[in-house]
Structure formats: structure tokens, C-alpha cells
């Protein structure tokens, strides 16, 4: 376990700076099991927020981890493990949308969540019923706005505001420059702001 933690901690460093011990290859299966256990929920959350379909999110999470496992030996640590996994997940998500567009006549959206239902998971906390009502309304508006964003804007928005990733991490995950990521994020925020402003 100590070896695994060390490897995971060094994943964010440049490949040249990491001295891979010989045991790493021997322990690769155990390492990957640790990686999968650690990041699975986060991958699932991103895919769930993006696809809004729990079953599809679960399936793509499995696919993502399977693909990562196959390519685990070739992972050089140029980016963090999470960024690498999210990049795989984003590519799988693109394929998923593409296949759904091809099968648009089929009712593949049966498990997707309606915007009206999205706010029901909002933790009530200690807020008053009025505050909860306002919060649910805000969630509903943002949820609908995000749904109407372009695929790239939605991905960037979710990575920034749901996964709370930094701009350079998002850029690595989506394979774009930081400037492009900022532009997409800015456009997405303009729309969200406009919708929320119109609501107030």
C-alpha cells in the first residue's frame, strides 16, 4: 500500500522526474485497483452530471476503468491520474453522444433525469423552507441552462464548477489550450448568468 501511495502521489510530476521502481510493474495490478477504488466515484459523478443517466454513467465508468486498465502500463505520469482518467471518460462520453445521435429514433433517454427532478437531491441543511425553495429554483435553472450548452462548454463547466478542477487540469483533460478552455467557460457562464439574472 505504501508503494501504491507513493506512485499515485508522483503521478502529477513530469515523467522524467519519476524513477519507476521495478516493483511497480509487479504491483501494477494492485496499483490500478487502488486507483480505481480512489477515483471511480469521481468519474461516475462527472459522467452522471454530463449524461444525466445513472445507468449510462455506470456503464461508461466501467468502460473507462477497463480502458485505463488496458493502458495502465503506458501511463507515464505526464498528468495526474485523475486528469488522465477524466480524459478517457470524456472521450467515451463523446462516443456515447455520437452513438445516441445515430440512434435518435430509439428511446434511449428513458433513464435520463428531468430538470424538474434535479433539484430534489439538494441537501436541505439548516435553511428555511423559503431558502430551500429559492435554492431548488436556482438549481433547476442552472440545470436546464447547462443542458442547452454545447458539449464542450458543458464539459468545461462541469469540470470547473462540479469537480472544482483548475483551468490547466481541465485543459489537459479535454485536450485544449487554457485560453480555449477559458473562452468556453466564459461563454457558458454568460449564459448561466443570463438565465439566473432573468429569473431574478
Amino acid at each position: 500500500m505504501a508503494t501504491t501511495t507513493t506512485v499515485l502521489e508522483t503521478m502529477g510530476k513530469p515523467a522524467a522526474a519519476i524513477a519507476f521502481p521495478a516493483e511497480r510493474l509487479q504491483n501494477s495490478a494492485a496499483e490500478f485497483a487502488e486507483v480505481a477504488a480512489r477515483y471511480r466515484q469521481q468519474i461516475f459523478r462527472f459522467l452522471l452530471a454530463s449524461l444525466r443517466d445513472p445507468d449510462a454513467a455506470e456503464t461508461l465508468t466501467q468502460d473507462c476503468l477497463l480502458k485505463a486498465h488496458r493502458n495502465w502500463a503506458s501511463f507515464r505520469g505526464d498528468s495526474s491520474v485523475m486528469t488522465w482518467l477524466l480524459r478517457i471518460a470524456i472521450n467515451l462520453q463523446k462516443d456515447h453522444w455520437r452513438s445516441r445521435r445515430l440512434q435518435f429514433w430509439k428511446q434511449t433517454n428513458s433513464n435520463s433525469v428531468d430538470a424538474d427532478d434535479a433539484s430534489q437531491w439538494l441537501p436541505s441543511g439548516e435553511s428555511s423552507p423559503e431558502q430551500q425553495a429559492v435554492a431548488k429554483d436556482q438549481v433547476r435553472v442552472v440545470w436546464r441552462t447547462v443542458e442547452n450548452l454545447s458539449e464542450r462548454q458543458r464539459t468545461v463547466f462541469l469540470l470547473r464548477h462540479v469537480e472544482e478542477m483548475e483551468i490547466h487540469e481541465i485543459a489537459q483533460a479535454v485536450g485544449l489550450s487554457e485560453g480555449t478552455v477559458k473562452a468556453h467557460l466564459s461563454r457558458a457562464m454568460v449564459r448561466v448568468r443570463a438565465e439566473l439574472g432573468g429569473k431574478r
Partner: protein
């Protein structure tokens, strides 16, 4: 990043809304992540599972092998028997035809023999009937010779 925060601070409700969205999605994800999910079995899942069972799979494979070999062999055997039957039938017909021809030939030879036999009998018992005028004719020939000499 600071400019982003400054922009968001201009809209305090935006920060609050984003926080609520984040909390909502996290809560939803946490709940869905641990929820047991029913796996829908495909129509062929039972079939492939049965195939995967060694005993049943072996039996099925053996049955398919026997059918794959047995059916063509059976068809071949059936055709062989039919061909033999046809050959026997043809032989029987040829034999019958030969027998019929032999009988006809025998009957013809018997008829020919009867005719020859009767001819023989006729030749044996037949005698040349003498010409009734023969003695007189010879006499007349003799008398004519004597008178011319005179």
C-alpha cells in the same frame, strides 16, 4: 481565476447557485453510486450461460457433431440403398426379359423342328407315283421306229 471570482462576486446569487448545483449533483451522485442496480439480462444470456456449462455444452456439442456427421452419412446410406434397389430391379427385369426371349426362341425352334420332322416323314413315305401313260408311251416310241424302217 481572480477575474472569474470577481465576476462571480458581482453576481452573488451566481456563486450561491453554483454551490447549490454542486451540492445537488454530489448528493445525487453519492446516492446513485451506492444504489444497487438491476442488470438487464439479454435474450441470449441464458443461451450463452447454458453453453458455458461444461456438461450441457459438451452434450450439445456432441449432439451437434453427431448430427453434422450422422445426417450426411444417413443421406448417403439412403441413396446407396436406393441405388442398390434400383440395380436389383433392373437386373430382375433384364433376367425376366432374357427368360422371355429364351422361351420365345425355344418355342420357335420347336416349331421349326416339327416342320422338318414332318418333311422327313413325308419324304420317307412318299413314293413317286408312276406315270400312267408311261408304258404306252414307250410302246408308241418302239412302233414308230419299226414302221419308219419299213
Amino acid at each position: 481565476m481572480n477575474s472569474e471570482k470577481c465576476q462571480n462576486q458581482e453576481y452573488p446569487h451566481l456563486e450561491e447557485a453554483l454551490r447549490n448545483v454542486r451540492a445537488s449533483i454530489h448528493a445525487w451522485s453519492d446516492r446513485e453510486f451506492v444504489r444497487p442496480r438491476a442488470i438487464e439480462r439479454s435474450r441470449w444470456a441464458g443461451f450463452w450461460q447454458a453453453i458455458a456449462n461444461p456438461a450441457l455444452g459438451g452434450t450439445l456439442a456432441a449432439t451437434m457433431l453427431v448430427a453434422a456427421i450422422g445426417v450426411p452419412v444417413g443421406v448417403y446410406h439412403e441413396r446407396e440403398v436406393a441405388a442398390q434397389r434400383q440395380a436389383l430391379e433392373l437386373q430382375r427385369k433384364q433376367a425376366a426379359e432374357q427368360a422371355r426371349k429364351a422361351a420365345a426362341a425355344a418355342a420357335t425352334s420347336i416349331a421349326v423342328d416339327d416342320g422338318a420332322f414332318l418333311d422327313d416323314v413325308d419324304s420317307d413315305i412318299a413314293q413317286d407315283a408312276p406315270d400312267a401313260m408311261q408304258p404306252l408311251a414307250s410302246l408308241m416310241n418302239d412302233g414308230a421306229g419299226k414302221s419308219s424302217r419299213r
